[in-house]
Amino acid sequence: MSLTMSSVSYTYGEGSAYATQALSGVDLEIRRDELVLVLGATGSGKSTLLRVAAGLLAPTDGRVLLDGIEVTGPLAAAEPSVGLVFQSPEAQLFAETVEADVGFGPRNIGRSETEASEAARDALVAVGIDPDAFGSRSPFSLSGGEARRVAMAGVLAMSPGYLLLDEPTAGLDVSGREAVARIVGAARERSGVVVVTHDAEEFLTVADRVVLLTEGHLTFDGSADALVQEPARFVDAGLRVPEVLHTQVLAREIGLEVERYSFDPLEAARLLADARTRSQ
């Protein structure tokens, strides 16, 4: 049970004067029981990776397989389905009411009106929006954080087997980010989840696996713990080293014998304290 990309390459405007290679020979397997964090700088091909994985773009080279079957088109209605939450998904809200907008996806894949309405209400509850209070409101009257959560509900309502999220916390305040993190945490119980971001700290502690994309190439695929032992990889990928990790790197530079690096703030504090004790 996996969504697999095998030697996938993608070039925008192939054959034109503006041809731009976004992905180059990417091999990636996403299982139903894991949360994969995809990190990369702007323009590294993260969003393209998600579009190809959701069957919205056909790779110019290589193959995408859903549970062993080659993907030939959008996977919104496949079994299991692949749901994709785009960056700033609130920009796709259009219906007269929140409930109608969230029910748009289920109706498109053939659910009855009752089923679509139920799925919409369940999805709204899952994202922390009260369907009774918000269901009949216009999606254009919502705040930025509410609109983001409603847009995510629009994808969750389709009960995806794999949930792909493109920069889900971009532009949100602290409470909005926490709400999105809770939604992602709940979603991983039911689906394979892929989160794409250039802000590592947000999901590093909850990811089962981390993938690094650098200029369209997959340059790292392993555990978050393995990645943080090599902070230079962040820099090489054009990313900011997470603050908690940067502190430990600096501690080593000034002579403290930090045993190992950790991205967990509490564990990092303990490691630093131990290093200080040893040095005294």
């Binding site: 925008y12 034109s16 503006y18 796709q92 259009f94 748009f104 498109n108």
Partner: protein, 265 residues
């Protein structure tokens, strides 16, 4: 990541065609259009075609980008051919006959003549936008319109509107594409059903697109006002564009040649 280049979008370059001043290019295009509509036979069209091919070759713009514009009018070309070529129950000899419907050789030849004229029109005019940046094009239009300012015509404002509109064509296309893909990811289908159903399928695209465009227009207007934009009056230009002697020579000799071909062939 960049989407595919829309038809007619500027291709940066430093060819002799790129370097010609936009007003001179617009004058040449006007003369070219006059030529196309005055030539009366295929010899004239061949001469116009040779001129267009030469200009494309000098411009170094990939020919497939030029021909992309022709693809965009393929329906009009097909309609032109059929409208001239098909006859209902003709008495004359036909190439192909399907019941009372027949393909008339003389009509087909007339259709080909008009279709070639459309192709050459598209090639010539798209070469103008392919080799002139939107800003220089708008600047050229503003200068051409500037004599009308004595009649209180807002040439500067019209040119600014044109610049902004041209600037936002690729952005709008990109935004529309993003929304289409986002709705497809929610199971929307745009390729099923009859015309009414297909038209209705675009509601989930058009509503957010217009909301986004109005929001963007509002933000742009505020941002322009914040940077002291008060209309065209008193504004100076970053780059002053002047018609040089070589621009005049190219424009006048080219225009005389083309109008001459148009009148004589």
């Amino acid at each position: 990541m960049r989407p595919p280049v829309p038809f007619g979008q500027y291709v940066p370059g430093d060819s002799p065609v790129h370097r010609v001043e936009p007003r001179a290019k617009m004058g040449l295009v006007a003369a070219y259009v006059i030529m196309l509509f005055t030539v009366g036979d295929f010899i004239g069209l061949i001469a116009a075609g040779l001129l267009a091919i030469t200009a494309v070759a000098i411009s170094s713009v990939p020919s497939r980008l030029v021909l992309r514009g022709v693809r965009a009018v393929s329906v009009i070309l097909a309609f032109t051919l059929l409208a001239h070529g098909l006859r209902w129950n003709p008495a004359t000899v036909s190439l192909v006959r399907l019941g009372p419907l027949a393909l008339d050789p003389e009509g087909l030849l007339t259709g080909i003549f008009f279709a070639v004229r459309i192709v050459l029109l598209v090639v010539g005019t798209s070469l103008l936008t392919l080799t002139t940046s939107p800003v220089r094009l708008a600047d050229g239009i503003e200068r051409l319109m500037s004599p009308l300012e004595v009649l209180r015509f807002p040439a500067g404002e019209v040119a600014m509107m044109l610049t902004v509109a041209l600037r936002f064509i690729p952005t709008t296309a990109e935004e529309a594409e993003k929304i289409v893909v986002a709705q497809v990811a929610r199971g929307a289908r745009f390729d099923v059903g009859g015309p009414t159903r297909r038209a209705r399928a675009y509601v989930p695209v058009l509503v957010p697109l217009f909301v986004s465009l109005f929001r963007r227009a509002d933000e742009l207007a505020t941002a322009m006002e914040a940077r002291c934009y008060r209309g065209g009056e008193g504004r100076t230009r970053l780059r002053e564009s002047h018609l040089t002697l070589s621009d005049w020579v190219v424009m006048i000799s080219g225009a005389v040649l083309m109008v001459g071909i148009g009148v004589s062939l």
